[in-house]
């Protein structure tokens, strides 16, 4: 797991407002990136990250163990991102700006990010937690509240879809990711 904060800051933030702000400042980039990985939209990701930070701040005093902080935090971020994603899932004309990666020089990097965006939401969340946050399937199961075998199955489906999508791109065929079947 890449993201960590000093456990003493978490304990301090449970009772001190200034420490809470410091914790939120530390947490913010991680919340935004995870939300961006799930939502693939900067505006929605910012909104979901703000909601998640508010939830963390409100729920922190009730958190008994600092060790539980990370899974709890990721669960909150994913939940808010999924709510945002669900809210727009029936939108016919999303009118969303294209993703602008700072890694535009690396076409493959863009390809894989676009391919993730074409995955169903539960698979997308699992992929972000697996490949960005570095969780194993049991930890993802704890975050998403689903059985570990289900998570492994979702990851398997996601990998298969990503492999197909990237194979299309790699073979120089038109990169029509919409044409890649969503295996649910």
């Amino acid at each position: 797991m890449g993201f960590t904060v000093d456990p003493s800051l978490i304990r301090e933030a449970q009772r001190d407002d200034a420490a809470l702000e410091s914790l939120l400042v530390a947490l913010w980039p991680e919340a935004y990136r995870v939300a961006l990985g799930v939502l693939h939209d900067r505006g929605l990701a910012e909104d979901a990250a703000q909601e998640a930070c508010a939830s963390v701040a409100l729920g922190l005093p009730g958190l008994r163990s600092t060790e539980a902080f990370y899974k709890w935090m990721y669960r909150i971020i994913i939940r808010h991102a999924m709510v945002s994603a669900k809210r727009i899932e029936n939108v016919v004309d999303a009118d969303l700006p294209p993703h602008q990666s700072t890694a535009s020089s690396d076409d493959e990097r863009l390809d894989i990010f676009a391919a993730i965006a074409a995955l169903p939401k539960p698979q997308r969340a699992a992929v972000v937690l697996r490949y960005y946050a570095g969780f194993n399937s049991s930890e993802i199961a704890a975050v998403l509240g689903a059985p570990a075998p289900t998570i492994r199955f979702r990851l398997m489906l996601a990998r298969r879809t990503l492999r197909r999508a990237l194979a299309i791109v790699d073979s120089s065929a038109p990169a029509d990711l919409e044409a890649v079947p969503n295996v649910r």
Partner: protein, 263 residues
């Protein structure tokens, strides 16, 4: 070739390299306060209900036929809600005090900025033939499903423009509220003009909605302003387009916030 190592490296690298906007602690505090109010059960001025209907009502309130139209729409809107039995609690008629409180008043830009509960960013990139601009501020009428009551909350700011040839259009600024999204793609401008007792639904204008910070701007394309001109305004403001839905009614996910459109 796709494998786990490549996925891990590229996904992590892509997200780590993504530009992260600065944290808005004030916005997070606002969200915390709003939730604390909800959970404590105090009378809250929840921003509910009628994002799109309010936009339509506020927008129409600046036309010459405003009062009658506004009342007509409001009554039909409420009647439709009652008729449809939408939600566990159906809004009651708008009380007179709330109705009075939501009357728009003409203000200066400075006053509008003071009254707005969001960072008001005036439109730029407007057509060059604008000859008159007026600004109106009006508190929003909101319906709380928990309190089962109407109240006012926030302020909606309307920029009313007149072009050299007399054509007029409005740009409406409101505070960004995720639960009120997505917005309708089309506003049926003939909804407010019954013909022989029936709604004429032939006329419609495309509704453009975008976000600047915590402000959302709404503009409806019409004979007074084209979609291209609206796109220029949005581009000049570097606005983020917001999702829109097709059709005439939409019920978003959520149990606290309800949004209605005029059927």
């Amino acid at each position: 070739m796709f494998d786990d190592a490549r996925a891990h490296a590229e996904i992590r690298s892509t997200l780590m390299n993504a530009a992260v906007p600065p944290i808005d602690l004030a916005a997070i505090r606002r969200r915390m306060s709003a939730r604390s109010e909800r959970s404590s059960g105090r009378p809250m001025s929840a921003r509910i209900a009628v994002a799109s209907a309010a936009v339509m009502i506020a927008g129409l309130s600046f036309t010459p036929a405003a009062p009658a139209l506004m009342q007509s729409i409001e009554e039909r809107y409420l009647a439709a809600l009652h008729g449809a039995g939408i939600g566990p609690r159906v809004p009651t008629a708008l009380p007179q005090d709330v109705r009075s409180a939501t009357n728009p008043s003409q203000v200066s830009l400075a006053t509008a900025k003071q009254r707005a509960n969001f960072v008001l960013v005036p439109p730029i990139g407007l057509p060059h033939d604008i000859v008159n601009r007026r600004i109106f501020a009006a508190p929003l009428a909101v319906w709380s499903k928990q309190e089962n009551a109407w109240s006012t909350d926030g302020v909606q700011v309307t920029f009313a423009y007149v072009r050299r040839d007399g054509r007029a259009f409005d740009i409406i600024a409101d505070r960004y509220s995720a639960p009120s999204l997505p917005a309708p793609r089309y506003i049926y401008d003939a909804d407010d003009a019954p013909r022989d007792g029936k709604l004429d639904r032939r006329g419609r204008g495309e509704n453009f909605v975008w976000r600047n910070g915590d402000q959302v701007l709404h503009v409806v394309a019409s004979t007074a302003i084209t979609a291209d001109e609206i796109a220029q305004i949005r581009a000049a403001m570097h606005g983020i387009p917001l999702p829109r839905y097709e059709g005439r009614s939409h019920r978003p996910v959520g149990n606290r916030v309800e949004r209605f459109t005029i059927p």
